[in-house]
Amino acid sequence: MSENISFDLDEKTYQKLLEKKENMGFKNKSWNEWFSNLIDEENSYSKILENIFEKKNYDVYFDDWIKNFKNNLLTIQNGHSAKKLIPEKEYPSGIIIGGGPSLKKHNHLKILANSNFEGAIICCDSVLSKALEEGVTPDKFKNFFVVVIDTQSHQKQWFEKDIVKKFGSKIKCIVSTTVHPSTYEAIIDSGMEVYWVHALFDYDKGKTSFNYISGIMSRSEKNQKGFPGIQTGGNVGTAAWTVSWNILKCPEVILIGIDQSYPIENQNGEIDFNSIGRAHPILYEYVEKIKSGKDNSESVKQAFPITFNPDFNCHYIQDPVFLYYSNALKEFIQKTQNKVKTINATEGGAIFGNGINSIKFNEYLKLKN
C-alpha cells in the first residue's frame, strides 16, 4: 500500500539536497536510504552495527587493553614516538599492503616487487612475511614500514618467521601501546625498531577516557609530549591508511589487498571458498542459507550484503566485521579527500565510492614510471 505526496522545491534547495546526499556518501543510494539515515540515524542498520561492535569491543578487549598497556608502560616511556617518523621531505606516495584475497588473485606483490616505485611501503602485520617472500623487501624499497594494532598475543606469530628476522633491522614498526607484550618482544627479537602510537577509541570522553589517562601516563623524561593517537578504523588496514598521511605525510595513498570483503561470483551467492582464506564460520553458514533461499530476510541481507563493485566489475560479500570496517573506511576517505588522495588499486572488494579513485595496480605503476 502506498500514497503519493507532492511538494514543490526551488532549484537551489534541490541542488543543495543533491550535494548533501552525495557528500554523506549516499550518491548511489536511494532517497529513502538517505532520508532514513538523516532522521533515524540511531536506529539505522549501520548505526546499530557500530553500537554493537563498540559494546563487543569493550566486553571482549577492554580489560586486555588496560593490562597490555600497563605491562608495556616502561618500554613505552623509554621508547620512540611515531612522531620521529615524520619525514623532513614528504614521501611522494605510499602503498598500503593489506592481506585481502585480491592481493594473491592479481599477483600484486610480484607486480610491486618488479616495479620502480619510489614511495613508502606501509605493510599490515599479517601480510609482512608474504610480501618479503615475494620480493617486496626493504632492500628494494628503502622506506619500509609495518603497522601493528591488534592486541591479542597471537599477533606475535607474524614476527617470528625467519624471513621477517632476516629483514627486520631495515623495517620500522609502528605499534599500538595496547599490543600484547609478547608481540612487542617478538617485534624486537626480529630486529625492528618500534615507534609507538596510541589507538584512539574513547578520547571523546575527555579526561576520564582511557586514551587521555594512558596518554598522560606514557609521558616521560624522554617523551615529554607523549605519543600520537591515531584513528584505527577498527583494523590494521585503516590504521595503516591513517599512518600513511598523518605520520608519513604521503599526499597520495594507494591501497592493495584492502578488500574488506570476500569475492563472490554473482548475486546468487556462488562463492569461491578457496579464494576466501580465513573467514568467520558464520559466513559459511549464511552463504549456504542465501544460496539455498532458506533465509532471504532483510536482516540477513543487511548483515551479509552481496554488493556489486562497479569500479572493478565484481561482486563481493561481507560479514558484519568487514561491513563495520568498510563503512568506516569509505566514510573516512570521503571526508578527507581534500587532505589526501586515496587510490584503490585492490582490483576487488568493498572500497569504492565518493572520493575513492579506482585503478588497476599495474596501470597505476605505469603512470608513475
Binding site: M1, S2, E3, I5, S6, F7, D8, L9, D10, E11, Y14, N43, I48, L49, E50, F53, E54, N57, V60, Y61, K83, D150, T151, L200, F201, D202, Y203, D204, N211, Y212, G215, S218, K225, F227, P228, G229, I230, Q231, T232, G233, G234, N235, V236, A239, N246, H280, I282, Y286, S297, E298, S299, Q302, A303, F304, D319, P320, V321, A328, F332, T336
Partner: protein, 52 residues
C-alpha cells in the same frame, strides 16, 4: 520550481522491528574483529592527535 513526488510506502513496523532484532542477533554472533572505530564530534581529532 521543481515538482517533487514522493511515493510513500506503508511499512509494517512490527516486521521492521523483528528484522532489526534479528540483525542485532546476527551481529552479536559474528565475531568481534580487531579494534574499535573512534568517533568524536571534534573533527580535528578524528584521525590524528599529535600529542596525546
Amino acid at each position: 520550481m521543481i515538482k517533487s513526488n514522493f511515493n510513500v510506502k506503508k511499512i509494517e513496523t512490527d516486521k521492521e522491528n523483528v528484522d532489526k532484532q534479528k540483525f542485532e542477533a546476527l551481529i552479536e554472533s559474528s565475531g568481534v574483529g580487531s579494534h574499535m572505530v573512534f568517533r568524536t564530534t571534534e573533527n580535528d581529532d578524528e584521525f590524528f592527535i599529535e600529542e596525546l
